[in-house]
């Protein structure tokens, strides 16, 4: 589904990603872990097409297309979704109205007719029940005055509404207490199926207790330095990132 090869990217001339290789197949859940500043969020942003990040080398193939050639909204149209670490606020624009616009813009991209109000509401009610989210939140202006937990739940609700093929969760657990993490993770789990894939970017192992990954990759200093199964996450939790750093530094030192 997604094939990243030797991806290098920089921001304001500073190299952040220094050659990422990663392949994700349909039905898989991958986790990217790593210490602060290792490039985790940069990777998520580059895949979503944020223009402050300049791709200097490498390629990303997504569903047979050159992802890097697509505009951010085209990537969304192709089913790529990013749950933001810091969702933005748009005063005066209700969350419902925002989501309705997003759903119909993506349908337009795919050559489908827009959902009418009735069909949209039906779909929304369905996903609200599934995500255990209330109407009051959706009637408020987008993310304005939302708590950290509400913002993240709103992100996962949008994911449910847009039904992406490839979902990237950028530190969705940051700032959440354990109950909120469970709610958000349950939402993501309900959306998993054999045709879509999830890339979970996280600093801590605890989210992976709830969203169980098939593969775990450790990102350090702009490179994936270690890959494994979910046990790797547990090992990291136990030993801390220092053990990775030492391993890498020793390897590079030779």
């Amino acid at each position: 589904m997604l094939k990243i090869q030797n991806l290098k990217a920089s921001v304001e001339g500073k190299a952040i990603l220094k050659g990422i290789d990663l392949e994700i197949k349909a039905g898989e859940v991958h986790a990217i872990m790593g210490p602060n500043g290792s490039g985790k969020s940069t990777l998520a942003s580059v895949l979503a097409g944020r223009k402050e990040y300049e791709v200097t080398e490498g390629s990303v193939e997504y569903l047979g297309k050159d992802l890097l050639e697509l505009a951010p909204e085209e990537r969304a149209g192709e089913g790529l979704f990013l749950a933001f670490q810091y969702p933005v606020e748009i005063p005066g624009l209700t969350t419902t109205n925002f989501i309705k616009t997003a759903v119909n813009e993506i349908r337009k991209y795919r050559g489908e007719a827009p959902l009418d109000a009735v069909a949209f509401l039906k779909m929304m009610k369905e996903k609200m029940a599934m995500m255990n989210i209330g109407q009051s939140l959706l009637s408020r202006p987008l993310n304005e005055g939302f708590s950290g937990g509400e913002k993240k739940r709103n992100e996962v609700f949008q994911m449910a509404m847009l039904q992406p093929k490839m979902a990237i969760l950028d530190e969705t657990d940051s700032g959440l207490d354990i109950d909120a993490i469970r709610i958000v993770a349950n939402g993501v789990n309900k959306l998993r199926n054999k045709d879509n894939a999830v890339l979970v970017v996280t600093h801590y192992q605890r989210l992976l207790d709830y969203i169980v990954p098939d593969f775990v990759h450790v990102l350090y200093n702009g490179r994936i330095v270690k890959s494994g199964t979910k046990e790797l996450a547990l090992e990291l939790e136990e030993k801390g990132y220092d053990f990775i750093k030492n391993e890498v530094n020793v390897g590079e030192g030779v």
């Binding site: 909204e73 933005v88 616009t101 813009e105 847009l162």
Partner: protein, 493 residues
């Protein structure tokens, strides 16, 4: 006759004024034959033109005198220069002050209207048929100065409501017109209102009798049609004791290369316990991307809450015109009266807007609320200018003002000029202001949800303006939202 704009620019306003006077005097010396049959007046302005307009409209003597008085006063006045706008001097002798559509017979029903004109309306999405059938809005359409169609008149007449063109009102209801005309905006009020009084060609008149609640939104669409024709409408709305009316004014203008002068006057009068709600969507031609062409819009709008417990509410969505100079105001004379001003002003490319309001608190326990949302894009300039005045007898006056500016890009300007004059120490006056920019983060967030940048800007801008948009009647709000999006097209790279 045509004065060279470049040469005039270097001269002082005083010289410019005398230049105009010279031209006027020359014109007057030679005079010209008034041709009653012609459809347009020749270019230029002098007493004969004023007489020509008055006679074309078959006006009574007192109207002519009123016009001439205004004209003579105008000659002594100078164009105001205090607004935060700049434009080359206007050659008032290069404007046609009267132009009537070819159609001569006054239509009694919509069916008699020229099919071509009706097609234009349909293109603008304001087909009279549609309006009539679907929305129940009575439309008094003004094209090039002469009112061509008034619907629902019969229905309104049963309630004693008068809703007609100003020319018709002068003929049919001279006593009402004479009593109220220029009672809120005196002919000597300002340069543009004096000019309007001298040459206004038509407009709307609306009279709601005592205790009547007007059952439908009254609506007028103004539109400039013929080349080089300045539009000088005059609107007068009188709401008698305990009455209510909601009035909609919408403007659309087609492309024009030359700047067109537009100086309207609107007067509102609310008696005891009466309420007038006046909504405008202004979409005159704003000029092209380089700032060529576009309408110069110098408008004087003022209402008086004459009676106790009366209320006047202005809502405006200003997206058009190359220059907007407009301050819909309320004189709060009656005790417990309420004035409101809700405004969205959008400027893009080279547009300039200097708009706001004046709230004059004279009566006791009077309240006013000002919500102004300015949106600037391109290299435009957007200024809010407002005065809150509390007179010495206006005990317990309250005002709340909120002025927010939203910037798109870094070449545009937003300015706020709030003036507050308080002469009574029981008054409470509050002013809040914010300035924000549309963030890259907001745009990217929308993009990531499949929403392209242009749509994202429209969403963000409409969210920003929502508090004002909510004040608009439903059918207007939808149109206004589209207009905001259209006005900002191409403003974000």
């Amino acid at each position: 006759m045509k004065t060279d704009i470049a040469s005039i620019e270097k001269e002082s306003p005083k010289n410019e004024q005398s230049a105009i006077e010279d031209v006027v005097l020359n014109e007057y010396k030679y005079g010209f034959v008034t041709d009653i049959e012609s459809d347009s007046a020749p270019k230029g302005l002098n007493e004969d033109i004023v007489r020509f307009i008055s006679s074309k409209k078959n006006e009574p003597e007192w109207m002519l005198e009123w016009r001439l008085k205004a004209y003579r006063h105008w000659l002594k006045m100078e164009e105001p220069k205090w607004a935060n706008i700049s434009y080359p001097p206007i050659d008032y002798q290069d404007v046609i002050y009267y132009s009537a559509p070819k159609q001569k017979i006054t239509p009694g029903s919509l069916d008699e209207i020229d099919p071509e004109l009706r097609k234009t309306f349909e293109k603008l999405g304001i087909s009279l048929d549609e309006q009539k059938r679907l929305t129940g809005v009575a439309v008094d359409a003004v094209i090039d100065s002469v009112s061509i169609g008034t619907s629902f008149k019969t229905q309104l007449a049963e309630l004693g409501i008068i809703f007609c063109s100003m020319s018709e009102a002068i003929q049919e209801h001279p006593e009402l017109v004479r009593k109220h005309l220029s009672s809120v905006v005196p002919i000597t009020d300002n340069y543009f209102s004096a000019l309007n009084a001298a040459v206004f060609s038509d407009g709307s008149f609306c009279y709601i009798p005592k205790g009547v609640r007007c059952p439908m939104e009254l609506s007028t669409y103004f539109r400039i049609n013929a080349e080089n024709t300045g539009q000088f409408e005059r609107t007068l709305i009188v709401a008698e004791e305990g009455s209510y009316v909601s009035y909609l004014e919408g403007c659309t203008a087609p492309m024009r290369d030359e700047n067109q002068l537009h100086a309207a006057v609107v007067e509102l009068i609310a008696m005891d316990n009466a309420e007038i709600k006046y909504s405008t969507v202004q979409n005159w031609y704003p000029g092209d991307k380089e700032g060529r062409g576009g309408i110069y819009n110098f408008v004087t709008k003022r209402g008086i809450c004459k009676g106790d417990n009366s209320k006047i509410s202005w809502t405006q969505v200003e997206t058009g015109s190359s220059i907007t100079w407009k301050y819909p105001s309320v004189i709060l004379k009656g005790d417990n009266s309420v004035g409101e001003f809700y405004s969205v002003a959008v400027t893009n490319n080279h547009q300039q807007a200097d708009t706001g309001t004046k709230m004059q608190h004279l009566g006791k326990n009077t309240k006013s609320r000002i919500v102004s949302k300015g949106i600037s894009a391109g290299v435009s300039n957007n200024s809010y200018r407002g005065l809150v005045h509390v007179g010495k007898n206006a005990a317990n006056a309250r005002n709340f003002s909120q002025c927010d500016s939203l910037l798109l890009g870094d070449k545009c300007g937003a300015h706020t000029f709030p003036y507050i004059e308080v002469k009574n120490n029981t008054a409470i006056v509050e002013h809040e202001a914010t300035t924000s920019k549309i963030g890259e983060d907001q745009i990217f967030y929308c993009n990531q949800r499949g929403i392209d940048t242009e749509t994202a800007v429209a969403l963000i801008v409409n969210g920003f303006a929502k508090e004002v948009m909510n004040q608009l009647p439903m059918e207007f709000a939808v149109e206004a939202q589209k207009l905001l999006a259209i006005s900002l097209e191409g403003s974000v790279g």
